[in-house]
């Protein structure tokens, strides 16, 4: 019998494939009580959309800044626009 770590990993894989939480829990009835809250929490962690990436302008500017000598770098401000 797999341990709880393996059972959790299997259930998470199944959920990622589109299985319902209840279906995943049926695979490991003896771990049901332990697995339920963990799977519920995992289900609340949402993936970032693929388009969440830094802008090309930002990437280029930061790259340029890194290649400058330290004395030439301007301070980075986190003040709102």
């Amino acid at each position: 019998m797999p341990d709880i770590v393996e059972a959790l990993a299997d259930c998470l894989d199944a959920m990622r494939r589109g299985e319902k939480l209840a279906t995943c829990l049926e695979m490991y009835p003896h771990y049901r009580e332990e697995l339920t809250p963990l799977l519920e929490i995992a289900d609340l962690i949402k993936p970032l959309a693929p388009e969440v990436v830094p802008s090309p302008v930002f990437r280029e500017q930061t790259r340029d800044r890194l290649l400058r000598r330290p004395d030439d770098r301007e301070e980075i401000s986190l003040a709102p626009d």
């Binding site: 709880i4 770590v5 393996e6 959790l8 990993a9 998470l12 990622r16 809250p37 963990l38 929490i41 995992a42 609340l44 962690i45 949402k46 993936p47 970032l48 959309a49 693929p50 388009e51 969440v52 990436v53 830094p54 802008s55 930002f58 990437r59 930061t62 790259r63 800044r65 890194l66 290649l67 330290p70 770098r73 980075i76 401000s77 986190l78 709102p80 626009d81």
Partner: protein, 188 residues
């Protein structure tokens, strides 16, 4: 799922070695290879495009300043970058006056359509995100790489320089820790 370029380990080691010797071009290559992953990690924690960009820039500037203190110890370079990114993000969140925002750029498949249920679900997701911030380095990195980046165990293991079995154990401990943190908050 977003697939990111990954440097071959030997190539990365060489780049890091050159960067430690103050080779700016080598560090720029490390930047190119890792900037998207670092940005997305910070974005998940901060949830603001402009601030995530600023903190991403700070992460690489700090890394460049401190590159001579980097030690391989088996973990890939990105793992070190993510640790710097996390520390900056946490400091920044502490200095923020208001931190309540709902996500608008995340995948929302499977959300219930009832407005009250949607609001409740979003509040729960925000609570989990806050709890993720309180995890230790290793657990937080596994949670973000597995669930936010949707990487498989082998990919996470490579990024963190761990075995697949170790990643599964960390994943279990991290979810248990999240449950504990959220339980304590419920009581409080």
């Amino acid at each position: 799922m977003l697939k990111l370029d990954k440097p071959p380990v030997t190539n990365e080691r060489l780049l890091v070695h050159r960067a430690i010797a103050r080779d700016g071009d080598a560090f720029a290559e490390l930047y190119d290879l890792n900037v998207i992953r670092v940005y997305r990690h910070i974005y998940y924690l901060i949830n603001d495009t402009k601030e995530a960009e600023d903190l991403t820039a700070q992460t690489f500037l700090q890394a460049w300043e401190a590159i001579d203190r980097f030690q391989h110890r088996g973990a890939p370079f990105v793992s070190w970058l993510l640790r710097i990114a996390h520390n900056l993000a946490v400091s920044h969140l502490r200095s923020r006056k208001s931190d309540v925002q709902l996500y608008d750029t995340m995948v929302d498949e499977g959300l219930p359509r009832n407005p009250e249920a949607v609001a409740e679900r979003q509040a729960d997701e925000e609570r989990v995100r806050q709890a993720v911030l309180r995890l230790g380095d290793e657990q937080r990195q596994v949670i973000i790489l597995r669930f936010v980046e949707e990487l498989d165990y082998r990919e996470v293991a490579e990024i963190l320089g761990k075995s697949v079995a170790a990643v599964r154990v960390i994943q279990h401990r991290a979810l248990c820790a999240l449950r504990k943190i959220m339980k304590v908050e419920e009581v409080a």
